[in-house]
């Protein structure tokens, strides 16, 4: 392998105007249509004053229920005649989802619970005002792994979705105190 290290292209904010370009139909519906094991995860994105962020967009990426980490194509699917995006076919589990927050700063994702050996949904957070994206993870109740074990109970709690009726609630706090701010990850 070459030792040559190219310098990376720097990040820039996603800005406020991604709404007609990045979201795609069915971006929130990772679970195959009508799948009986579908779980709904939802929440708000908040800024440092606790105000909802209506111009964030979240990319989701996760292992399949069988532990597969390789994903599958077919999240977008273009209709060859009209050129319109169709979104996924409702059968294949692609592992990839994308949801923009609404006017209330709220988002919702319908997916299948990831396998126990990779028990989290990876999230990449973009927003106007955020100059470089942030990674976090959603863990459903009962999940355990090395990352959770290494965190203090206070910090760990920010990565744990909570039962909320028939769904799970997971809020993302971009800025706050140690107890409030979501744990964000660095893979460098």
């Amino acid at each position: 392998m070459s030792d040559a290290k190219l310098e990376p292209t720097p990040s820039q904010t996603v800005g406020p105007f991604f709404g007609y370009a990045l979201p795609f139909p069915g971006g929130a519906d990772l679970a195959p249509a009508g799948h009986p094991d579908t779980v709904t995860v939802h929440g708000f994105v908040y800024d440092g004053e606790g105000r909802p962020v209506p111009d964030a967009i979240l990319d989701f990426w996760q292992a399949g229920p069988d532990g597969s980490r390789t994903g599958a194509p077919g999240s977008l699917r273009v209709d060859a005649s009209s050129g319109e995006l169709l979104g996924r076919d409702g059968v294949r589990f692609t592992g990839f989802g994308r949801v923009g927050t609404d006017g209330d700063g709220h988002w919702a994702l319908r997916t299948l619970a990831p396998a126990p050996d990779a028990p989290y949904i990876a999230v990449c957070v973009f927003a106007r005002g955020l100059l470089h994206h942030l990674y976090t993870r959603i863990y459903l109740p009962g999940a355990e792994d090395a990352l959770l074990a290494a965190l203090t109970p206070e910090r760990r709690a920010t990565l744990l979705a909570e039962q909320d009726g028939a769904a799970y609630r997971f809020d993302i706090r971009i800025q706050g105190s140690e107890a409030e701010e979501t744990v964000f990850l660095d893979f460098a």
């Binding site: 392998m1 310098e7 996603v14 390789t70 592992g95 973009f126 005002g129």
Partner: protein
């Protein structure tokens, strides 16, 4: 309200603050919207090679058609503006091509207006231009778009704030860790010095990596001017991908 002179002074004050890889520090007050939208707690380092983030989403031929990369042919008529071709290679930091991956772009029209309801800049919309495109990289990691050159536009950061002309890029690598959203700028733009988003990249060498190069060999006779924008993705690559790659070179 804040003046350009005050923003200039803040930009100068932060110019010496360098972040790793030339990326912007998320805490960059001259860009006002960053103040409440950056973390205060340190990030948690994850080194697990089997982390799901060391793998990534995949896209296929059914997800993107060739026409999606031509922003001048999405409507019944031709958009107004200077037609351009933007092409480049997507690689990782070792120079390996990122193959068959999704590149998404979005931009303002030639008058500096986005097709977005929250955009209040009183420049004309163009009925023949939406400004969003997609492409898949080929085996060399190359992508190519045809579009029109976007215009600069005013925004609300401070009085008389103007964004330099730019095209937004969204990129995927071989792993989710290499995700990148950035903006491509045009050479010689007089607005660079005044723009706190561009200046949030404080290292002058890193700033250059955001600016496309005019390339006459990419210009198409009687049709479009050519710009080259190569993209190097940061972050660790896919564990499985590196293993495959080493096998290729045995």
């Amino acid at each position: 309200m804040t003046t350009q002179q005050e923003i200039d002074a803040e930009i100068a004050r932060y110019a010496e603050r360098l972040a790793p890889g030339g990326h912007p520090d998320r805490d960059y007050p001259p860009y006002r919207s960053s103040i409440l939208r950056h973390p205060r707690q340190p990030l948690t380092v994850v080194t697990d090679p089997e982390a799901v983030e060391r793998y990534g989403p995949v896209f296929g031929a059914g997800d993107v058609t060739e026409l999606d990369a031509d922003l001048t042919r999405q409507h019944s008529g031709e958009p107004i503006g200077e037609r351009i071709t933007v092409s480049g290679r997507v690689t990782d930091r070792a120079g390996r091509p990122v193959r068959n991956q999704l590149v998404e772009i979005w931009q303002a029209n030639a008058a500096g207006r986005y097709v977005h309801r929250r955009e209040q800049h009183p420049a004309p919309l163009d009925p023949n231009f939406t400004g969003a495109g997609r492409a898949l990289t080929d085996d060399e990691g190359t992508y190519r778009f045809t579009t029109v050159k976007p215009g600069p536009y005013p925004w609300g950061n401070h009085v008389n704030a103007w964004r330099p002309a730019h095209i937004h890029f969204s990129l995927f690598g071989t792993a989710f860790t290499q995700r990148l959203v950035t903006q491509m700028y045009f050479p010689g733009d007089p607005l660079f010095a005044f723009d706190p988003i561009f200046q949030a990249v404080t290292d002058p060498a890193a700033q250059q990596r955001l600016i496309a190069t005019y390339r006459h060999d990419l210009s198409v006779s009687e049709f479009s001017l050519g710009y080259r924008f190569d993209i190097v993705l940061d972050g660790p690559g896919a564990t499985h991908f590196e293993a495959d790659h080493e096998e290729d070179h045995r």
